[in-house]
């Protein structure tokens, strides 16, 4: 498994956790009748910060964990192999395209909630959900392309 694949796997795991956390928090808010603007916007902030930190942590963790595993397996000093060649860039591009498609559909659906007379909170909730889901789907698509080829 290349560095890029490991990085995507770690990123995917982190974003699945973030998505799970988000859904659980929203569910709890609805259950406790605390689904109000203060709580939703706070959750928005938490999710955005977690996503940024998660991306950084994924890269650092992949470097460190990969280096340790390499040293234990081969007893050689780890090499930094984070170069992105044309295949990596192509896969990244295709993943990004999938992410944009999902995000666009999410935004359209979010706007549609206004048509059905839903409050803005529902729109905001759907918006961030589609953003995180798009990242998860894009990472899955990237891993699929690495495994299956194209």
């Amino acid at each position: 498994m290349s560095f890029q694949q490991k990085n995507i796997t770690v990123s995917l795991s982190i974003f699945v956790i973030i998505l799970g956390f988000y859904l659980i928090r929203i569910f709890q808010m609805v259950q406790n009748a605390s689904f109000n603007s203060t709580n939703v916007f706070r959750l928005w902030g938490i999710i955005v910060v977690l996503a940024v930190i998660g991306t950084i942590v994924a890269t650092i963790f992949t470097h460190i964990a990969g280096g340790i595993v390499h040293k234990v397996r081969t007893n050689e000093d780890p090499q930094i192999e984070d170069i992105q060649d044309e295949r990596d860039q192509m896969i990244d591009l295709r993943g990004t395209r999938v992410a944009y498609t999902f995000s666009s559909i999410g935004v359209a659906l979010s706007m549609l909630t206004f048509v059905f007379g839903q409050p803005p909170l529902v729109m905001f909730t759907l918006l961030i959900f589609s953003g995180v889901l798009a990242q998860v789907v894009a990472d899955i698509w990237r891993l699929t392309l690495y495994r299956r080829g194209f």
Partner: protein, 75 residues
């Protein structure tokens, strides 16, 4: 218009170059070893530039490294 299949003889050509390793070839053409593996398994068709770089390493014409089979012939 359907998509054809691009095959290659990279594995064979490496063998005839004193069993050149995938890593050595990857370093010579400036890609990762995983990309060489993907090409040998027909899971990735390289760009024209990379194809020329590979042919240059083996000092052979491009057509001897890569071959193109249109969809209607490959099925």
């Amino acid at each position: 218009m359907g998509k054809g299949r691009i095959g290659n003889n990279i594995r064979k050509l490496r063998f005839f170059r004193n069993e050149m390793t995938q890593q050595q070839l990857a370093e010579k053409v400036g890609v990762t070893r995983q990309t060489i593996i993907a090409m040998e398994q027909d899971k990735y068709s390289p760009s024209l530039e990379l194809a020329f770089r590979i042919a240059r390493v083996f000092e052979t014409p491009l057509e001897e490294v890569f071959s193109y089979q249109p969809e209607d012939e490959s099925t």
